[in-house]
């Protein structure tokens, strides 16, 4: 018996509304192509122009996202359901664009000092950000896959951006091999989900799962769901899929580490929430255990391993693994409770400002040639650069979750969501491991206020430049504002959550 030829859907073409809704992504995509052309034809003395072009396009995309926030209202889909035009994606876009813009501001100085100021850098940052924004709005398995690969492939190249540096090349190859491995899992999981539900559109997959729930769920769908989760867990560097993180963070140029430590997590978590909490709520009981387990392990392994580090970048890498664990608590809560998603959004925004700040300090303070990476390099910083040291202290307190900083409320909301849904053990585990994390954050903070020993050479910190001042002032202000005027962001996150597509399960409270 011969199978019939696949039914070909009627031809449809996107409308102006579709293109307009995709404006932020289109701006960045066009700017990426423009930057490549400019880099090929501009003389190498005009490199800093490229940073300016990149910054302007990021600002324009931010403006377009803000317009989209007001225009999208209660949310609708673009491209026949393949892409979301809702406040949730605009909220995530805003975090991503601000983070990328801050990284673009600190980059020229750092890259010049390392002698790796090539024009491709800005093009790759824009390409990666475009991929992240696509991932944040994706409502179709193919679009999710393309978004994740666009962001990853750009980041593989960026990690290896220092071409003559073996450690940078090594970081890039490790990232590529493990990232490709993760993509394999993600793709196979997506293939199974598509095959067993018959759809690639998230909304239709959700409906198919709801219909199947009355009878029984196909085990192959569950295998698919778990494989997709493994793919995402690699991207957010959750234990046990975290092994690449410390090496890649340490080997990559510090400005690249700043960029990827924040933006990859934000984009991947945004998609993770959309796929798991909002598309797979009807198989919640099946994936909840696995997500919780990965969260528990991440909090444990990340915090314990961070205790023993002597490299700042590796310490922040393990700290990032632990933070991924806290954010996963917000994913693991019952999808019917909106506080989980709001907590994730709040945590991501708080983590973005704080972590960019902390990494920006070690980026802009790095001396000529060598990176500022060892703990001893910070000793005595407070006496030479008091404002920078104070800012770094604040970022470390925020990462540790002290009030009144952004980090405290990020943790507060996800723990509250966990307690509200009966996942109290997760919240308690989170509080215990946060207490452990205080040790290593405070250890670094106190180091800056110690005088170096007589025979010890002080690290030759770079002078504080205007660009460094702008970024540190902005991140400091952000860390404090999100820690004091909590309801500014809480209300925005709550508005972003209320219009989140696909709306398959009704959520309350």
């Amino acid at each position: 018996m011969l199978a019939q030829a696949a039914t070909i859907p009627a031809l449809v073409t996107p409308t102006g509304r579709d293109l307009l809704g995709l404006l932020p992504e289109l701006i960045l995509g066009a700017a990426f192509v423009l930057l490549m052309a400019l880099d090929a034809f501009l003389p190498s003395t005009r490199r800093s122009w490229l940073a300016v072009v990149a910054f302007i396009s990021l600002a324009a995309a931010f403006g377009a996202s803000m317009w989209g926030w007001f225009d999208s209202g209660s949310g609708r889909t673009l491209y026949f359901g393949a892409f979301a035009y809702d406040r949730y994606s605009m909220f995530v876009n805003a975090i991503l664009l601000v983070s990328s813009a801050l990284v673009v501001i600190i980059s020229p100085q750092y890259l010049n000092r390392r002698g790796i100021h090539h024009g491709e850098y800005y093009a790759l940052i824009l390409a990666s950000t475009t991929g992240m924004m696509i991932l944040a709005g994706a409502m179709n398995l193919m679009v999710i896959f393309l978004g994740i690969e666009l962001l990853s492939i750009s980041l593989y190249v960026l990690s290896g951006f220092s071409r003559g540096d073996e450690r940078s090349q090594e970081a890039a190859l490790k990232y590529l091999l493990l990232g490709g491995f993760a993509s394999g899992f993600l793709l196979y999981g997506m293939a199974l989900v598509y095959g067993e539900t018959g759809h690639t559109q998230l909304a239709q997959i959700g409906l198919a799962l709801r219909a199947a729930q009355t009878s029984s769920v196909d085990p192959l769908v569950l295998v698919g769901v778990i494989l997709v989760f493994i793919g995402f867990a690699f991207k957010v560097s959750a234990v046990p899929f975290h092994t690449w993180t410390p090496d890649v963070y340490q080997g990559a140029p510090t400005s690249v580490t700043t960029f990827m430590s924040v933006t990859t997590k934000v984009a991947a978590f945004a998609a993770l929430v959309r796929v798991f909490t909002y598309t797979f709520p009807y198989v919640y009981t099946h994936w909840q255990v696995i997500v919780s387990l990965v969260a528990i392990l991440s909090m444990l392994v990340g915090n314990i391993a961070a205790l023993t580090q002597t490299s700042l970048k590796r310490m922040l890498a393990y700290s990032g693994i632990a933070q991924a664990g806290y954010i996963l608590i917000g994913v693991a809560v019952d999808p019917r409770v909106a506080l989980g998603t709001i907590g994730v959004l709040y945590y991501l925004a708080a983590y973005a400002v704080t972590n960019i700040g902390a990494f920006a300090v070690i980026t802009v303070m790095a001396g000529r040639g060598e990176d500022l990476d060892s703990y001893s390099g910070l000793r005595g910083l407070a006496f030479r650069r008091p404002y920078v040291a104070a800012a770094m202290g604040l970022f470390l307190l925020s990462l540790g979750g002290f009030p009144p900083t952004a980090g405290f409320f990020g943790k507060f909301f996800v723990f509250a969501a966990a307690i509200k849904t009966g996942l109290t053990p997760l919240a308690i585990w989170g509080i215990v491991t946060s207490a452990v994390s205080v040790f290593y954050y405070l250890r670094v903070a106190l180091l800056m206020y110690q005088r170096p020993a007589e025979d010890e050479r002080e690290y030759a910190w770079s002078r504080t430049s205007l660009s460094a001042g702008i970024v540190l002032a902005a991140t400091t202000a952000g860390t404090l504002v999100l820690g004091i005027f909590v309801f500014l962001l809480y209300n925005a996150a709550s508005a972003a959550q209320s219009g989140l597509l696909p709306a398959i399960a009704s959520s309350s409270g």
Binding site: A3, G160, E166, E170, L173, L176, L177, G180, T200
Partner: protein, 103 residues
């Protein structure tokens, strides 16, 4: 044209390819071979997508496979460029030896 009776075998083939690829990534040492195993995993996904697309009479699986082919090509190019660069810097190519950074 395949008959729908072949569908379980195609799915089995894709699962087999995926297992071979994943095992290869975990046990092989040469980055090039690891890389080939990753490609094998992605292509196992492609086989599954196309088999399902045929089975479900839906064109989405084939479109998805198209996208994956493009992505895999981009990944190969970046990977080969990195491997060549590491080779130029005069390093042995063994994933276990790539450990300039310590714990």
């Amino acid at each position: 044209m395949i008959s729908t009776g072949l569908f379980p075998y195609m799915l089995g083939l894709s699962a087999f390819l995926f297992t071979v690829g994943a095992t290869g990534v975990l046990i092989r040492r040469n980055p090039l071979v690891v890389f080939m195993c990753i490609e094998l995993m992605l292509n196992a996904g492609n086989v599954a997508l196309i088999a399902y697309g045929r089975f479900l009479n839906s064109v989405e699986g084939q479109i998805f496979a198209f996208m994956v082919i493009i992505v895999a090509a981009a990944e190969v190019v970046v990977g080969l460029a990195l491997i060549t660069q590491i080779f130029r810097l005069g390093r042995e190519l063994d994933v276990d030896d790539i450990s300039e950074m310590s714990e």
